[in-house]
Protein backbone atom coordinates (compact mmCIF):
# COMPACT_ATOMS: atom_id res chain seq x y z
CA UNK A 1 0.00 0.00 0.00
CA UNK A 2 2.72 2.40 1.05
CA UNK A 3 4.76 1.27 -1.93
CA UNK A 4 2.00 2.12 -4.34
CA UNK A 5 1.44 5.46 -2.67
CA UNK A 6 5.10 6.39 -2.94
CA UNK A 7 5.15 5.33 -6.55
CA UNK A 8 2.07 7.38 -7.34
CA UNK A 9 3.53 10.49 -5.71
CA UNK A 10 6.83 10.07 -7.55
CA UNK A 11 5.25 9.64 -10.96
CA UNK A 12 2.83 12.49 -10.42
CA UNK A 13 5.78 14.77 -9.71
CA UNK A 14 7.53 13.45 -12.82
CA UNK A 15 4.44 14.10 -14.93
CA UNK A 16 4.32 17.67 -13.62
CA UNK A 17 8.02 18.04 -14.45
CA UNK A 18 7.41 16.91 -18.02
CA UNK A 19 4.59 19.43 -18.29
CA UNK A 20 6.91 22.14 -16.96
CA UNK A 21 9.42 21.36 -19.71
CA UNK A 22 6.89 21.34 -22.52
CA UNK A 23 4.71 24.30 -21.48
CA UNK A 24 7.25 27.16 -21.66
CA UNK A 25 8.42 26.14 -25.12
CA UNK A 26 4.85 26.28 -26.40
CA UNK A 27 4.03 29.40 -24.39
CA UNK A 28 7.02 31.30 -25.75
CA UNK A 29 6.29 30.41 -29.37
CA UNK A 30 2.58 31.18 -29.08
CA UNK A 31 3.00 34.48 -27.26
CA UNK A 32 5.81 35.72 -29.51
CA UNK A 33 3.94 34.86 -32.70
CA UNK A 34 0.62 36.20 -31.37
CA UNK A 35 2.25 39.52 -30.46
CA UNK A 36 3.80 39.80 -33.89
CA UNK A 37 0.72 39.08 -36.01
CA UNK A 38 -0.75 42.60 -35.71
CA UNK A 39 2.54 44.21 -36.73
CA UNK A 40 3.43 41.95 -39.66
CA UNK A 41 3.18 43.99 -42.81
CA UNK A 42 5.04 44.11 -46.12
CA UNK A 43 7.05 47.20 -45.17
CA UNK A 44 9.00 44.98 -42.76
CA UNK A 45 10.65 43.42 -45.79
CA UNK A 46 11.21 46.59 -47.80
CA UNK A 47 12.12 49.29 -45.25
CA UNK A 48 15.23 49.60 -43.11
CA UNK A 49 15.25 49.88 -39.31
CA UNK A 50 15.87 53.62 -39.12
CA UNK A 51 13.25 54.62 -41.72
CA UNK A 52 10.18 56.77 -40.84
CA UNK A 53 8.03 53.68 -41.34
CA UNK A 54 10.52 51.23 -39.89
CA UNK A 55 11.12 47.77 -41.34
CA UNK A 56 13.61 45.01 -40.74
CA UNK A 57 15.17 44.65 -44.18
CA UNK A 58 18.68 45.63 -43.15
CA UNK A 59 18.48 43.47 -40.02
CA UNK A 60 17.45 40.42 -42.03
CA UNK A 61 20.20 40.97 -44.59
CA UNK A 62 22.71 41.53 -41.79
CA UNK A 63 21.69 38.32 -40.01
CA UNK A 64 21.86 36.37 -43.28
CA UNK A 65 25.33 37.72 -44.14
CA UNK A 66 26.59 36.96 -40.61
CA UNK A 67 25.19 33.44 -40.88
CA UNK A 68 26.84 32.92 -44.23
CA UNK A 69 30.14 34.19 -42.87
CA UNK A 70 29.91 31.83 -39.89
CA UNK A 71 29.19 28.91 -42.22
CA UNK A 72 32.22 29.78 -44.33
CA UNK A 73 34.57 30.19 -41.35
CA UNK A 74 33.24 27.78 -38.72
CA UNK A 75 31.91 25.10 -41.10
CA UNK A 76 35.23 23.85 -42.54
CA UNK A 77 37.09 24.27 -39.23
CA UNK A 78 34.43 22.38 -37.29
CA UNK A 79 34.04 19.58 -39.83
CA UNK A 80 37.79 19.07 -40.31
CA UNK A 81 38.34 19.17 -36.56
CA UNK A 82 35.59 16.61 -36.01
CA UNK A 83 37.02 14.29 -38.68
CA UNK A 84 40.48 14.61 -37.16
CA UNK A 85 39.28 13.76 -33.66
CA UNK A 86 37.13 10.85 -34.85
CA UNK A 87 39.44 9.31 -37.46
CA UNK A 88 43.02 10.42 -37.17
CA UNK A 89 44.01 11.64 -33.75
CA UNK A 90 45.81 9.28 -31.37
CA UNK A 91 43.29 8.33 -28.68
CA UNK A 92 44.71 10.50 -25.93
CA UNK A 93 45.26 13.58 -28.11
CA UNK A 94 41.73 13.21 -29.46
CA UNK A 95 40.38 13.16 -25.94
CA UNK A 96 42.29 16.33 -25.01
CA UNK A 97 41.22 18.20 -28.15
CA UNK A 98 37.58 17.19 -27.69
CA UNK A 99 37.70 18.30 -24.07
CA UNK A 100 38.96 21.79 -24.88
CA UNK A 101 36.61 22.19 -27.80
CA UNK A 102 33.68 21.43 -25.50
CA UNK A 103 35.02 23.74 -22.81
CA UNK A 104 35.20 26.54 -25.39
CA UNK A 105 31.48 26.06 -26.02
CA UNK A 106 30.93 26.63 -22.31
CA UNK A 107 32.67 30.02 -22.24
CA UNK A 108 30.01 32.72 -21.74
CA UNK A 109 29.24 34.37 -25.05
CA UNK A 110 29.67 37.87 -23.61
CA UNK A 111 33.26 36.97 -22.69
CA UNK A 112 33.95 35.97 -26.29
CA UNK A 113 32.37 39.20 -27.47
CA UNK A 114 34.47 41.19 -25.02
CA UNK A 115 37.70 39.59 -26.20
CA UNK A 116 36.61 40.27 -29.79
CA UNK A 117 36.25 43.92 -28.84
CA UNK A 118 39.62 44.16 -27.12
CA UNK A 119 41.60 42.21 -29.72
CA UNK A 120 39.87 42.78 -33.08
CA UNK A 121 37.87 45.99 -32.80
CA UNK A 122 40.34 47.88 -30.64
CA UNK A 123 43.88 46.50 -30.98
CA UNK A 124 43.66 45.64 -34.69
CA UNK A 125 41.61 48.79 -35.46
CA UNK A 126 38.95 46.89 -37.38
CA UNK A 127 36.35 49.02 -35.56
CA UNK A 128 32.87 47.56 -35.19
CA UNK A 129 32.73 45.40 -38.26
CA UNK A 130 31.24 42.41 -40.01
CA UNK A 131 34.46 40.39 -39.86
CA UNK A 132 34.91 40.88 -36.11
CA UNK A 133 31.31 39.72 -35.61
CA UNK A 134 31.79 36.67 -37.81
CA UNK A 135 34.97 35.62 -36.00
CA UNK A 136 33.48 36.04 -32.51
CA UNK A 137 30.39 34.08 -33.54
CA UNK A 138 32.52 31.39 -35.19
CA UNK A 139 34.53 30.83 -32.01
CA UNK A 140 31.23 30.03 -30.34
CA UNK A 141 29.86 27.81 -33.12
CA UNK A 142 32.89 25.67 -34.06
CA UNK A 143 32.56 23.34 -31.02
CA UNK A 144 28.97 22.42 -31.96
CA UNK A 145 30.00 21.48 -35.50
CA UNK A 146 33.06 19.56 -34.29
CA UNK A 147 30.94 17.56 -31.86
CA UNK A 148 28.19 16.63 -34.34
CA UNK A 149 30.76 15.74 -37.01
CA UNK A 150 32.65 13.51 -34.60
CA UNK A 151 29.47 11.77 -33.46
CA UNK A 152 28.36 11.22 -37.07
CA UNK A 153 31.73 9.76 -38.06
CA UNK A 154 31.67 7.45 -35.05
CA UNK A 155 28.29 6.11 -36.11
CA UNK A 156 29.70 4.74 -39.35
CA UNK A 157 30.22 1.00 -38.77
CA UNK A 158 33.78 -0.09 -38.11
CA UNK A 159 33.51 -2.85 -40.75
CA UNK A 160 33.35 -0.17 -43.43
CA UNK A 161 36.58 1.38 -42.19
CA UNK A 162 38.37 -1.96 -42.14
CA UNK A 163 37.09 -2.88 -45.60
CA UNK A 164 38.22 0.45 -47.05
CA UNK A 165 41.72 0.09 -45.65
CA UNK A 166 41.87 -3.61 -46.59
CA UNK A 167 41.30 -2.88 -50.29
CA UNK A 168 44.24 -0.49 -50.14
CA UNK A 169 42.57 2.91 -50.20
CA UNK A 170 44.64 5.76 -48.84
CA UNK A 171 43.30 7.36 -45.65
CA UNK A 172 42.02 10.45 -47.45
CA UNK A 173 40.29 8.41 -50.13
CA UNK A 174 38.81 6.10 -47.52
CA UNK A 175 37.40 9.07 -45.60
CA UNK A 176 36.19 10.90 -48.69
CA UNK A 177 34.70 8.01 -50.65
CA UNK A 178 33.65 5.51 -47.99
CA UNK A 179 33.20 7.09 -44.57
CA UNK A 180 31.99 10.59 -45.36
CA UNK A 181 28.91 9.73 -47.48
CA UNK A 182 27.05 7.84 -44.74
CA UNK A 183 28.14 10.44 -42.13
CA UNK A 184 27.14 13.40 -44.28
CA UNK A 185 23.45 13.67 -43.31
CA UNK A 186 24.46 13.70 -39.63
CA UNK A 187 27.08 16.37 -40.28
CA UNK A 188 24.58 18.47 -42.22
CA UNK A 189 21.96 18.23 -39.48
CA UNK A 190 24.62 19.38 -37.01
CA UNK A 191 25.36 22.33 -39.30
CA UNK A 192 21.68 23.17 -39.43
CA UNK A 193 21.46 23.20 -35.64
CA UNK A 194 24.60 25.33 -35.47
CA UNK A 195 22.92 27.74 -37.88
CA UNK A 196 19.94 28.00 -35.53
CA UNK A 197 22.15 28.79 -32.54
CA UNK A 198 24.28 31.20 -34.54
CA UNK A 199 21.25 33.19 -35.73
CA UNK A 200 20.01 33.52 -32.17
CA UNK A 201 23.18 34.89 -30.58
CA UNK A 202 23.41 38.54 -29.58
CA UNK A 203 25.97 38.89 -26.80
CA UNK A 204 29.09 38.12 -28.89
CA UNK A 205 27.92 40.52 -31.59
CA UNK A 206 27.06 43.65 -29.59
CA UNK A 207 30.69 44.69 -29.16
CA UNK A 208 32.22 43.15 -32.27
CA UNK A 209 29.74 43.80 -35.05
CA UNK A 210 28.34 46.79 -33.18
CA UNK A 211 24.81 47.75 -34.04
CA UNK A 212 23.87 50.45 -36.48
CA UNK A 213 20.76 50.94 -38.50
CA UNK A 214 20.37 52.01 -42.08
CA UNK A 215 20.74 50.30 -45.41
CA UNK A 216 23.19 47.40 -45.50
CA UNK A 217 26.56 48.13 -47.08
CA UNK A 218 28.81 45.20 -47.61
CA UNK A 219 32.19 45.80 -46.04
CA UNK A 220 34.29 43.52 -43.87
CA UNK A 221 35.84 46.34 -41.81
CA UNK A 222 34.81 49.64 -40.26
CA UNK A 223 31.09 49.23 -40.89
CA UNK A 224 28.60 48.54 -38.10
CA UNK A 225 25.86 46.19 -39.14
CA UNK A 226 22.26 45.53 -38.16
CA UNK A 227 20.94 42.09 -37.22
CA UNK A 228 17.65 40.66 -36.02
CA UNK A 229 18.63 39.78 -32.45
CA UNK A 230 20.08 43.27 -32.02
CA UNK A 231 16.91 44.85 -33.38
CA UNK A 232 14.83 42.82 -30.93
CA UNK A 233 17.14 43.67 -28.02
CA UNK A 234 17.31 47.42 -28.56
CA UNK A 235 13.72 47.98 -29.68
CA UNK A 236 12.12 46.17 -26.77
CA UNK A 237 13.82 48.63 -24.41
CA UNK A 238 12.21 51.63 -26.12
CA UNK A 239 8.86 52.77 -24.77
CA UNK A 240 6.95 53.63 -27.97
CA UNK A 241 4.50 51.23 -29.60
CA UNK A 242 6.26 51.26 -32.97
CA UNK A 243 9.54 50.06 -31.44
CA UNK A 244 7.77 47.42 -29.37
CA UNK A 245 6.12 46.20 -32.57
CA UNK A 246 9.51 46.05 -34.30
CA UNK A 247 10.90 43.98 -31.43
CA UNK A 248 7.95 41.57 -31.58
CA UNK A 249 8.30 41.21 -35.34
CA UNK A 250 12.04 40.54 -35.07
CA UNK A 251 11.49 37.97 -32.32
CA UNK A 252 8.79 36.22 -34.36
CA UNK A 253 10.97 36.08 -37.47
CA UNK A 254 13.79 34.59 -35.37
CA UNK A 255 11.47 31.97 -33.82
CA UNK A 256 9.99 30.95 -37.18
CA UNK A 257 13.43 30.68 -38.78
CA UNK A 258 14.66 28.51 -35.91
CA UNK A 259 11.55 26.30 -36.04
CA UNK A 260 12.19 25.85 -39.75
CA UNK A 261 15.82 24.89 -39.14
CA UNK A 262 14.94 22.43 -36.36
CA UNK A 263 12.31 20.84 -38.60
CA UNK A 264 14.85 20.54 -41.45
CA UNK A 265 17.36 19.06 -39.03
CA UNK A 266 14.82 16.44 -37.93
CA UNK A 267 14.17 15.39 -41.53
CA UNK A 268 17.87 15.05 -42.24
CA UNK A 269 18.51 13.13 -39.01
CA UNK A 270 15.74 10.65 -39.79
CA UNK A 271 17.28 10.10 -43.21
CA UNK A 272 20.76 9.63 -41.78
CA UNK A 273 19.49 7.05 -39.30
CA UNK A 274 18.00 5.01 -42.11
CA UNK A 275 21.21 5.28 -44.07
CA UNK A 276 23.43 4.12 -41.23
CA UNK A 277 21.01 1.31 -40.34
CA UNK A 278 21.30 0.01 -43.91
CA UNK A 279 25.09 -0.04 -43.66
CA UNK A 280 25.27 -1.82 -40.33
CA UNK A 281 26.26 -5.34 -41.32
Amino acid sequence: MLRNFRSAVFWTLCAIALLVIVTPAIAIIVSVVAKAIPVLRPTLLTNVTGAPIPGLQDAMIGSAVLLLGVLVVAGPIGILGGIYIAEMAPVRLGRVLRFFSEVLAGVPSIVIGFVGYVALVNALHWHFSLLAGILALSALIVPYITKTTEVSMNQVPRTLREAALAVGLSRVTAIRKVLLPPALPGIVSGLVLAMAISTGETAPLLFTAGYGSGAFHFSLFNQQITYLTGAAFFDVQLPDAASQGQASAAAAILILWILLLIFAGRLITARSRRMVARLDV
Partner: protein
Protein backbone atom coordinates in the same frame (compact mmCIF):
# COMPACT_ATOMS: atom_id res chain seq x y z
CA UNK B 1 13.75 -5.81 -27.18
CA UNK B 2 17.37 -5.38 -28.07
CA UNK B 3 19.46 -6.88 -25.30
CA UNK B 4 22.84 -6.24 -26.88
CA UNK B 5 23.50 -2.70 -27.96
CA UNK B 6 25.99 -2.68 -30.74
CA UNK B 7 28.56 0.07 -30.49
CA UNK B 8 29.11 0.81 -34.14
CA UNK B 9 32.00 2.75 -35.56
CA UNK B 10 34.62 4.14 -33.28
CA UNK B 11 38.28 4.37 -33.99
CA UNK B 12 40.06 2.08 -36.40
CA UNK B 13 41.40 -1.21 -35.10
CA UNK B 14 44.94 -1.82 -33.90
CA UNK B 15 46.92 -2.60 -37.06
CA UNK B 16 45.66 0.41 -39.02
CA UNK B 17 46.44 2.73 -36.14
CA UNK B 18 49.88 1.20 -35.68
CA UNK B 19 50.69 1.66 -39.36
CA UNK B 20 49.50 5.22 -39.12
CA UNK B 21 51.66 5.83 -36.07
CA UNK B 22 54.75 4.63 -37.89
CA UNK B 23 53.90 6.99 -40.73
CA UNK B 24 53.85 4.25 -43.35
CA UNK B 25 51.05 3.72 -45.86
CA UNK B 26 50.35 7.44 -45.83
CA UNK B 27 50.29 9.25 -49.18
CA UNK B 28 51.21 12.91 -49.53
CA UNK B 29 47.51 13.81 -49.70
CA UNK B 30 47.03 11.91 -46.46
CA UNK B 31 49.75 13.88 -44.74
CA UNK B 32 48.47 17.25 -45.95
CA UNK B 33 44.90 16.43 -44.99
CA UNK B 34 45.93 15.10 -41.60
CA UNK B 35 47.97 18.23 -40.95
CA UNK B 36 45.18 20.63 -41.98
CA UNK B 37 42.55 18.73 -40.01
CA UNK B 38 44.87 18.60 -37.02
CA UNK B 39 45.25 22.37 -37.10
CA UNK B 40 41.47 22.75 -37.32
CA UNK B 41 41.03 20.47 -34.32
CA UNK B 42 43.57 22.48 -32.33
CA UNK B 43 41.99 25.87 -33.06
CA UNK B 44 39.42 25.69 -30.20
CA UNK B 45 42.25 25.09 -27.74
CA UNK B 46 44.12 28.02 -29.28
CA UNK B 47 41.03 30.22 -29.08
CA UNK B 48 40.58 29.32 -25.42
CA UNK B 49 44.19 30.19 -24.62
CA UNK B 50 43.92 33.41 -26.63
CA UNK B 51 40.77 34.47 -24.76
CA UNK B 52 42.34 33.81 -21.36
CA UNK B 53 45.64 35.58 -22.14
CA UNK B 54 44.06 38.64 -23.78
CA UNK B 55 41.61 39.10 -20.91
CA UNK B 56 44.14 38.76 -18.12
CA UNK B 57 46.73 41.01 -19.77
CA UNK B 58 44.12 43.63 -20.61
CA UNK B 59 42.54 43.57 -17.16
CA UNK B 60 45.83 43.67 -15.25
CA UNK B 61 45.95 47.45 -14.54
CA UNK B 62 42.37 47.35 -13.26
CA UNK B 63 43.21 44.38 -11.05
CA UNK B 64 45.98 46.51 -9.52
CA UNK B 65 43.72 49.54 -9.16
CA UNK B 66 40.73 47.75 -7.65
CA UNK B 67 42.91 45.62 -5.40
CA UNK B 68 40.92 43.79 -2.71
CA UNK B 69 37.96 46.18 -2.98
CA UNK B 70 36.94 44.12 -6.01
CA UNK B 71 35.82 41.35 -3.67
CA UNK B 72 34.79 43.46 -0.68
CA UNK B 73 32.98 46.52 -2.02
CA UNK B 74 29.49 46.84 -3.44
CA UNK B 75 30.34 50.16 -5.03
CA UNK B 76 31.02 50.05 -8.78
CA UNK B 77 31.39 53.40 -10.47
CA UNK B 78 33.23 54.48 -13.58
CA UNK B 79 34.01 57.79 -11.86
CA UNK B 80 33.80 61.25 -13.41
CA UNK B 81 34.55 60.48 -17.06
CA UNK B 82 34.39 64.12 -18.17
CA UNK B 83 36.41 65.75 -15.41
CA UNK B 84 40.12 66.44 -15.56
CA UNK B 85 40.93 65.09 -12.09
CA UNK B 86 42.34 61.62 -11.77
CA UNK B 87 42.74 59.30 -8.85
CA UNK B 88 45.50 56.81 -8.53
CA UNK B 89 46.08 53.59 -6.63
CA UNK B 90 48.96 51.09 -6.84
CA UNK B 91 50.54 53.27 -9.53
CA UNK B 92 47.49 53.05 -11.82
CA UNK B 93 45.39 56.11 -12.64
CA UNK B 94 41.65 56.18 -13.22
CA UNK B 95 39.04 58.98 -13.39
CA UNK B 96 38.29 60.62 -10.04
CA UNK B 97 35.74 58.66 -8.06
CA UNK B 98 36.25 55.43 -10.00
CA UNK B 99 35.58 52.36 -7.86
CA UNK B 100 35.38 48.83 -9.07
CA UNK B 101 33.74 46.73 -6.36
CA UNK B 102 32.13 43.61 -7.81
CA UNK B 103 30.23 42.21 -4.83
CA UNK B 104 26.78 43.06 -6.22
CA UNK B 105 27.53 41.33 -9.52
CA UNK B 106 29.09 38.29 -7.87
CA UNK B 107 26.13 37.88 -5.52
CA UNK B 108 23.64 38.45 -8.34
CA UNK B 109 25.36 35.94 -10.61
CA UNK B 110 25.55 33.27 -7.92
CA UNK B 111 21.97 33.71 -6.64
CA UNK B 112 20.26 33.70 -10.03
CA UNK B 113 22.27 30.75 -11.32
CA UNK B 114 21.97 28.65 -8.16
CA UNK B 115 18.19 29.11 -7.98
CA UNK B 116 17.99 28.26 -11.68
CA UNK B 117 20.00 25.05 -11.43
CA UNK B 118 18.23 23.89 -8.26
CA UNK B 119 14.92 24.14 -10.12
CA UNK B 120 16.12 22.85 -13.48
CA UNK B 121 17.73 19.60 -12.34
CA UNK B 122 14.73 17.85 -10.73
CA UNK B 123 12.43 19.09 -13.48
CA UNK B 124 14.66 17.77 -16.25
CA UNK B 125 15.37 14.42 -14.59
CA UNK B 126 11.73 13.87 -13.60
CA UNK B 127 10.44 14.81 -17.03
CA UNK B 128 12.86 12.51 -18.84
CA UNK B 129 12.11 9.59 -16.47
CA UNK B 130 8.38 10.08 -17.02
CA UNK B 131 8.87 10.01 -20.75
CA UNK B 132 11.21 7.04 -20.89
CA UNK B 133 9.30 4.86 -18.43
CA UNK B 134 5.68 5.55 -19.26
CA UNK B 135 5.20 6.97 -22.70
CA UNK B 136 5.32 4.85 -25.87
CA UNK B 137 8.61 4.99 -27.82
CA UNK B 138 6.84 6.82 -30.61
CA UNK B 139 6.43 9.82 -28.33
CA UNK B 140 10.05 9.75 -27.16
CA UNK B 141 11.09 11.89 -30.10
CA UNK B 142 8.77 14.52 -28.71
CA UNK B 143 11.10 15.39 -25.88
CA UNK B 144 14.13 15.81 -28.12
CA UNK B 145 12.07 18.17 -30.25
CA UNK B 146 11.18 20.29 -27.23
CA UNK B 147 14.72 20.13 -25.89
CA UNK B 148 16.10 21.24 -29.25
CA UNK B 149 13.53 23.98 -29.33
CA UNK B 150 14.41 25.27 -25.88
CA UNK B 151 18.10 25.07 -26.79
CA UNK B 152 17.44 26.91 -30.05
CA UNK B 153 15.26 29.77 -28.83
CA UNK B 154 17.50 32.88 -28.83
CA UNK B 155 18.29 34.26 -25.40
CA UNK B 156 17.03 37.66 -26.46
CA UNK B 157 13.63 36.07 -27.15
CA UNK B 158 13.69 34.49 -23.69
CA UNK B 159 14.47 37.96 -22.36
CA UNK B 160 11.61 39.64 -24.22
CA UNK B 161 9.20 36.93 -23.13
CA UNK B 162 10.37 37.19 -19.51
CA UNK B 163 10.14 40.98 -19.59
CA UNK B 164 6.78 41.40 -21.29
CA UNK B 165 4.80 38.21 -20.65
CA UNK B 166 6.19 35.87 -18.01
CA UNK B 167 7.32 38.51 -15.48
CA UNK B 168 4.01 40.42 -15.37
CA UNK B 169 2.14 37.09 -15.18
CA UNK B 170 4.24 36.00 -12.19
CA UNK B 171 3.87 39.36 -10.43
CA UNK B 172 0.12 39.21 -10.84
CA UNK B 173 -0.67 35.57 -10.06
CA UNK B 174 2.24 33.74 -8.45
CA UNK B 175 4.39 36.14 -6.43
CA UNK B 176 1.57 37.45 -4.18
CA UNK B 177 1.05 33.88 -3.00
CA UNK B 178 4.78 33.49 -2.36
CA UNK B 179 4.92 36.52 -0.07
CA UNK B 180 3.22 34.47 2.66
CA UNK B 181 6.45 32.45 2.93
CA UNK B 182 8.03 35.79 3.87
CA UNK B 183 6.99 35.19 7.47
CA UNK B 184 9.52 32.34 7.61
CA UNK B 185 12.12 33.34 5.01
CA UNK B 186 12.45 37.15 4.83
CA UNK B 187 13.61 37.12 1.20
CA UNK B 188 10.09 36.19 0.12
CA UNK B 189 8.56 39.33 1.66
CA UNK B 190 6.94 41.79 -0.73
CA UNK B 191 6.49 44.19 -2.42
CA UNK B 192 6.44 42.03 -5.54
CA UNK B 193 6.86 44.87 -8.05
CA UNK B 194 6.25 44.20 -11.72
CA UNK B 195 7.98 40.88 -11.99
CA UNK B 196 11.23 42.22 -13.38
CA UNK B 197 13.58 40.92 -10.76
CA UNK B 198 15.74 38.21 -9.34
CA UNK B 199 13.20 35.40 -9.17
CA UNK B 200 11.81 35.97 -12.68
CA UNK B 201 15.35 35.96 -14.07
CA UNK B 202 16.13 32.74 -12.19
CA UNK B 203 12.99 31.03 -13.48
CA UNK B 204 13.75 32.00 -17.07
CA UNK B 205 17.35 30.82 -16.61
CA UNK B 206 16.00 27.52 -15.28
CA UNK B 207 13.97 27.05 -18.46
CA UNK B 208 17.04 27.94 -20.52
CA UNK B 209 19.25 25.29 -18.93
CA UNK B 210 16.68 22.50 -18.95
CA UNK B 211 18.02 21.32 -22.36
CA UNK B 212 21.50 20.69 -20.92
CA UNK B 213 20.32 18.50 -18.06
CA UNK B 214 17.48 16.88 -20.00
CA UNK B 215 19.58 15.84 -22.97
CA UNK B 216 22.23 14.36 -20.68
CA UNK B 217 19.62 12.45 -18.69
CA UNK B 218 18.05 11.14 -21.89
CA UNK B 219 21.38 9.85 -23.19
CA UNK B 220 22.21 8.24 -19.85
CA UNK B 221 18.81 6.61 -19.35
CA UNK B 222 19.26 4.97 -22.77
CA UNK B 223 22.49 3.39 -21.49
CA UNK B 224 21.10 1.86 -18.30
CA UNK B 225 21.82 -1.89 -18.65
CA UNK B 226 18.61 -3.52 -19.84
CA UNK B 227 19.28 -6.70 -17.85
CA UNK B 228 19.57 -4.81 -14.55
CA UNK B 229 16.39 -2.93 -15.33
CA UNK B 230 14.46 -6.08 -16.25
CA UNK B 231 15.98 -7.95 -13.31
CA UNK B 232 14.60 -5.39 -10.89
CA UNK B 233 11.15 -5.66 -12.45
CA UNK B 234 11.41 -9.47 -12.30
CA UNK B 235 12.11 -9.25 -8.56
CA UNK B 236 8.70 -7.67 -8.20
CA UNK B 237 9.74 -4.06 -7.85
CA UNK B 238 7.38 -1.52 -9.25
CA UNK B 239 8.60 1.08 -11.72
CA UNK B 240 9.36 3.68 -9.09
CA UNK B 241 11.51 1.23 -7.13
CA UNK B 242 13.27 0.14 -10.30
CA UNK B 243 14.08 3.73 -11.07
CA UNK B 244 15.29 4.33 -7.53
CA UNK B 245 17.41 1.19 -7.27
CA UNK B 246 18.71 0.78 -10.84
CA UNK B 247 18.31 3.88 -12.99
CA UNK B 248 19.12 6.72 -10.60
CA UNK B 249 22.33 5.23 -9.18
CA UNK B 250 23.49 4.49 -12.72
CA UNK B 251 22.92 8.02 -14.01
CA UNK B 252 23.93 9.88 -10.83
CA UNK B 253 27.43 10.98 -11.79
CA UNK B 254 26.21 12.07 -15.22
CA UNK B 255 23.56 14.22 -13.59
CA UNK B 256 26.17 15.81 -11.34
CA UNK B 257 28.20 16.63 -14.45
CA UNK B 258 25.18 18.05 -16.25
CA UNK B 259 24.36 20.11 -13.16
CA UNK B 260 27.80 21.70 -13.27
CA UNK B 261 27.54 22.37 -17.01
CA UNK B 262 24.07 23.84 -16.64
CA UNK B 263 25.26 25.99 -13.79
CA UNK B 264 28.12 27.27 -15.95
CA UNK B 265 25.61 28.15 -18.65
CA UNK B 266 23.36 30.00 -16.23
CA UNK B 267 26.31 31.99 -14.85
CA UNK B 268 27.27 33.31 -18.24
CA UNK B 269 23.84 34.05 -19.68
CA UNK B 270 23.69 37.70 -20.61
CA UNK B 271 20.83 39.15 -22.57
CA UNK B 272 17.87 37.40 -21.03
CA UNK B 273 19.14 38.33 -17.57
CA UNK B 274 19.96 41.90 -18.55
CA UNK B 275 16.50 42.48 -20.04
CA UNK B 276 14.70 41.02 -17.04
CA UNK B 277 16.84 42.29 -14.16
CA UNK B 278 17.68 45.61 -15.60
CA UNK B 279 21.20 46.43 -14.50
CA UNK B 280 20.79 47.80 -11.02
CA UNK B 281 23.95 48.00 -8.94
CA UNK B 282 22.38 47.26 -5.57
CA UNK B 283 21.98 44.13 -3.54
CA UNK B 284 18.26 43.28 -3.55
CA UNK B 285 16.50 42.78 -0.21
CA UNK B 286 13.89 40.46 -1.59
CA UNK B 287 13.54 38.03 -4.47
CA UNK B 288 11.37 40.31 -6.60
CA UNK B 289 13.75 43.24 -7.01
CA UNK B 290 16.15 43.89 -9.84
CA UNK B 291 19.91 43.58 -9.34
CA UNK B 292 22.74 42.76 -11.72
CA UNK B 293 25.13 39.99 -12.73
CA UNK B 294 28.69 39.94 -14.03
CA UNK B 295 27.56 39.29 -17.60
CA UNK B 296 24.73 41.84 -17.51
CA UNK B 297 27.02 44.52 -16.08
CA UNK B 298 29.61 43.93 -18.83
CA UNK B 299 27.03 44.07 -21.61
CA UNK B 300 25.24 47.10 -20.21
CA UNK B 301 28.23 49.23 -19.18
CA UNK B 302 30.69 48.66 -22.02
CA UNK B 303 29.11 51.40 -24.14
CA UNK B 304 29.73 54.10 -21.52
CA UNK B 305 33.07 52.58 -20.56
CA UNK B 306 34.36 53.37 -24.07
CA UNK B 307 34.26 57.06 -23.20
CA UNK B 308 36.75 56.75 -20.32
CA UNK B 309 39.88 58.60 -21.50
CA UNK B 310 42.09 56.53 -19.15
CA UNK B 311 40.61 53.28 -20.55
CA UNK B 312 40.42 52.02 -17.00
CA UNK B 313 36.64 51.49 -17.19
CA UNK B 314 36.93 48.94 -19.99
CA UNK B 315 39.76 47.25 -18.10
CA UNK B 316 37.57 47.06 -15.00
CA UNK B 317 34.92 45.31 -17.07
CA UNK B 318 37.67 43.01 -18.33
CA UNK B 319 38.34 42.13 -14.70
CA UNK B 320 34.68 41.14 -14.34
CA UNK B 321 35.07 39.08 -17.51
CA UNK B 322 38.16 37.35 -16.10
CA UNK B 323 36.20 36.34 -13.02
CA UNK B 324 33.28 35.13 -15.15
CA UNK B 325 35.66 33.15 -17.36
CA UNK B 326 37.33 31.58 -14.33
CA UNK B 327 34.03 30.48 -12.78
CA UNK B 328 32.69 29.07 -16.03
CA UNK B 329 35.98 27.26 -16.79
CA UNK B 330 35.90 25.77 -13.30
CA UNK B 331 32.33 24.45 -13.69
CA UNK B 332 33.14 23.11 -17.16
CA UNK B 333 36.36 21.41 -16.12
CA UNK B 334 34.78 19.81 -13.07
CA UNK B 335 31.65 18.81 -14.96
CA UNK B 336 33.53 17.14 -17.78
CA UNK B 337 36.11 15.49 -15.54
CA UNK B 338 33.45 13.99 -13.22
CA UNK B 339 32.15 11.79 -16.03
CA UNK B 340 35.40 10.80 -17.64
CA UNK B 341 34.56 7.27 -16.59
CA UNK B 342 31.31 7.24 -18.51
CA UNK B 343 31.54 8.06 -22.18
CA UNK B 344 31.76 11.81 -22.53
CA UNK B 345 29.52 11.54 -25.58
CA UNK B 346 26.51 11.72 -23.28
CA UNK B 347 27.40 15.24 -22.22
CA UNK B 348 26.01 18.00 -24.40
CA UNK B 349 27.97 20.91 -25.83
CA UNK B 350 27.15 24.52 -25.13
CA UNK B 351 23.45 25.19 -24.97
CA UNK B 352 22.55 21.49 -24.90
CA UNK B 353 23.18 19.97 -28.31
Amino acid sequence: MILVRRRAGGLPAGPARAAQARGRELTTADRVFQWVAGVAATLPLGALAFIAVVLVVYAFPAILYADTSFFTSTHFSLGNLYGSTLSSHNGVTAPAGAAYGAVVFIVGTLTTSVIAIVLAVPISVGGVLMLSEWLPPRLQGLLSTFVELLAGIPSVVFGIWGLTVFGPFLALHIFPALTSIGAVIPFFKGPVGFGQGLLTASLVLAIMIVPIVASTTRELVKRVPVLAHEGALALGMNRYETVRVVTLPYIRSGIIAATLLGWGRALGETLAVLLILGNIGYLPHNLYLGTSTLAAQIADTLDSAFTDPTQMAVRALAELAVLLLLISLATNFCGRLVVRRISSEALPVGRGV
